[in-house]
Symmetry: D2
Subunit: 314 residues, 4 copies
């Protein structure tokens, strides 16, 4: 059974939040979106992350969306809910709603004001106190939050706070951080799950360093799922071959702002969501960006074809 | 009649949010707090500002607090509600609740991500579109938000957006900004109200530059009210004498973090709030800080005495 | 003849600065480094950029290195010298030394303190006044400087300051910025050269948007030179095929901090520099990083082989 | 004899750098400036600090200025030279020049890129290694540098690095930091000198917490010297009375940017420097600012008169 805990692995897809053309929550589209992710073999679904436009939803919208997603997932895989908030009262309110709706846990990124090591540790102590028994993933994403957490501080948190079950790893550069954490575990530290982010931009290397999978988004979740599987089977070259075929688009989707527009554009083109609409101040892809994305998709398809033929020849 | 519009003047006190000793909203204490502010002669009350610990309240707590304050104020003075939010959906939800409860308008600070002039203007266009007919104060507080708004850009916003009725001015340094804005008005720009902030640290100079009053907090609102009155009467020396007597404490209250603890400590000591409690990660004054504040208050009282005696002699 | 002006195109390679194993400037190695770059077909050499560890050199070391490079280049291609500085006195001193040594121009990135549009324009006015007749490239690299420059502001600078001859473009996302600048030129704006950066991570798309080439570093400059040539010949698919073969390493080299260590490691492995040493607080590649880089290089070679065979078959 | 070491106390005045009307170094004016400071009873002179416009001087200008100041001081008091630099090579070059000219030590602020505790400790280890036997003051000024150093980390540095002899304390809020440091010393930590900054805005409280004096600038150094003396004599009320008389101007001088213009304006008005000129992008006081400063000086003189009369009466 799939769970959200220290042993979680595979791809926890960071879900988009679907809106209709006027920018309202597209609740009718939730089922199709969830079904799409499940059909691609994800091990979990993370909603209300940064790329889920969480800060753009009101508190009541957030609750409604969580309920709709949890209802459709129906326990097939764990649902993790982003509850990062400028204050603990909001965090607690949304956590309670999410767990009541059937979520398996939550995700918390540190607020931009934290600087020193002790401020960071104190913050996650208060977070754990706020969440009570609810398990959480710590999102370590300095490029977005401005907060840098040294590996030994992540160890302190993991060793001291049993409800911190997972690191959503997206430091940049971050490869040595995974190694440092795994080495500390080898010396007796508590093991937690490490799922990597950044749209999967370093997925092959991160898995080799000891990542358990990915918790991030990409318009082709099947690539990340398959790369994780090939890696688990020890076929790292096949994993990298597959990854490289998608890399030009992964790179394009990693652009701040435009990245989410790209992802929603592709998911719309794939028939997964009814509208590529992003809430303000986000914007849709321009005409030239659309052409670039479509060219990358065509080249990607050609490359996947080549891969198949090369494999057949060998 | 007192209103919240382009002509507003005097002191719009930035209210603290009272908690009980366990950190819960002290709704029972709202009446006493409101009565205190009204008794000191304020021209308005601003709630859910940064020093009102707004980000630490959940959405439902915010609504409850707004309702309690508006009910007690009962239209005696305008109530302005801070609705700054990472997204427009939350901003809209709280604005509707506030106006429904009887508030006169709202206050909006820009999110920390804004950098270029056009990003700033666009943001306030979207804000105005979100708020509809509701009048708002633009909070210009770069030290807290990281967003720097040049005077000509404030003019663009004031001239283009009729619902922007007030500037909560707390740039630092900011004196020349007031002058630049007033000069542009003299050349035909639309006049808006300018109420100054920063705990009143530059109140005499800011009034002389053209400020209409203050929208900020200080544990002795009567000082700010009286300084504004003396200034309006043209007695700038008496205004400065009074201000200078309080300046050592104003300075102490301007310390980030500790400042709010100081303000709540004094309001508690004055019998205005039942507890000086601040929500996490804020903290109460340490013993040494308490002693410092009490020494400053004792010296302040002595100085006010001297002022009276000097006046009697002259 | 190759020049540094509004018409410059091709690859201006951002040179590393070679140190010996003890961290001293490796002046003896300058000739080999210059010869390597020239042999790869670069159109210019940019020294003392961020990836040239410029801030880690003393003023006297900077002058000595500029002289050594200019002497070896001997006018074969333009040499551009990074002179970004916290103050104009240092900028002027280094510019005079560089032009005296035979450089063709300089490069200037804005200081991190700039925020508003007018602060930015004023800064480059003062820069131009400081530089006098010396042509300069404006480095637009918000991820490193924190300064965001809107496209219309770049237009203002280009139109108003004739000595600003080039944009070193490395905004992220930045594709639409190139288009906006070229469209403004089409409507009568002054044309300047746009050379792209970010290690070439978006080189194919940037050239298609109107970039004239690249001003950045990568351990295989020949890739960037060849991509620019293929693009100029209209063979965009061949350009992208070549680019994609190197993309996994380009991506790896784009990691902050580790990126420069990677570049120097590869240049050392290729026999270009005598030591991969980076000055403190930089560090060399770890053992695992080295293994990752070497794996990427091996895969890259295999992929280039495949490309040749695919081409032969067609 | 006055020294720069762990026992230093009193006022180390942060000197302005005098320019002539065209912005060139006013070397002819150095003697008058130094004599002024010495005549006011300072215990040391700190040059090339942030308020000494250090980043606006070229490397050669810095050396020339250091030599001129040291020559005039002639060993009467210690001279401390700001050598903060983006790289260690520049730091070393200036330190060697300074010590050769007769300086007693240097001052180092951390670069803005540091975030985690271990990055900070590592930086000062590398600093100490760079400086060799030269004693240094660590400038802890988060508002300017963006770097927050927790008190235990300052302790680590003080305990581990014997050449770190002084903390230039200007955290904000910072009172509890002084107490924490002194308490750690009481428990066996190595004692270092703590001189406070921020223009002296919290001087009375900081001395009471355990500060040894001030290392900062203010246009009336005699106030800071006298406040330190009165405090040392145990007459804290007289110290505060004197301080309060100057506080309105201290506050005005603490405004970023305008503060230095204010200081130079007053020093020029007092006949200490030949020109109030500030190097670009700094600017001189506007007419209204000048009027404000002159009003504050007039009120300050009146208040000092009152103090004398009150004292005579008592």
């Amino acid at each position: 059974m799939l769970t959200f805990d220290e042993t979680s692995s595979g791809v926890f897809i960071v879900s988009v939040t679907p809106f209709d053309e006027r920018g309202a929550l597209d609740l009718a589209g939730v089922d199709r979106l969830v079904d799409f992710y499940l059909s691609k073999g994800v091990a979990g679904i993370t909603i209300l992350g940064m790329m889920g436009e969480a800060p753009k939803l009101s508190a009541s919208e957030s609750r409604i969306f969580v309920e709709a997603v949890c209802a459709r997932v129906g326990g097939a895989v764990p649902v993790v809910v982003g509850v990062s908030s400028p204050g603990f009262a909001s965090m607690q309110e949304l956590t309670e709603a999410a767990m009541g709706a059937g979520a398996s846990g939550v995700m918390v990124a540190p607020p931009a004001t934290l600087r020193t090591d002790s401020q960071i540790v104190d913050y996650f102590r208060m977070t754990a106190e706020t969440l009570g028994p609810v398990p959480f993933a710590l999102q370590d994403f300095p490029l977005a939050t401005g907060v840098q957490i040294a590996a030994p501080i992540l160890r302190t948190i993991a060793d001291e706070i049993p409800t911190c079950v997972m690191l959503k790893h997206e430091d940049w550069p971050g490869l040595d951080k995974i190694t440092a954490l795994r080495q500390a575990e080898a010396k007796g530290g508590r093991r937690i799950s490490i799922l990597v982010g950044n749209g999967g931009l370093f997925l092959p290397e991160e898995l080799a360093r000891g990542g358990d999978g990915a918790m991030t988004g990409f318009a082709y979740p099947e690539m990340m799922v398959q790369v994780c599987r090939l890696h688990a089977m020890g076929d790292t070259d096949a994993a990298s071959d597959l990854f490289d075929a998608y890399l030009p688009l992964v790179r394009y989707e990693q652009q701040p702002g435009i990245g989410l527009a790209t992802r929603k554009h592709v998911l719309h083109a794939r028939g997964v969501i009814a509208s590529a609409r992003i809430r303000r101040p986000g914007r849709a892809l321009s005409g030239m960006e659309t052409a670039e994305v479509e060219r990358l998709i065509a080249r990607q398809a050609r490359r996947l074809d080549q891969l198949v033929r090369i494999e057949e020849l060998s």
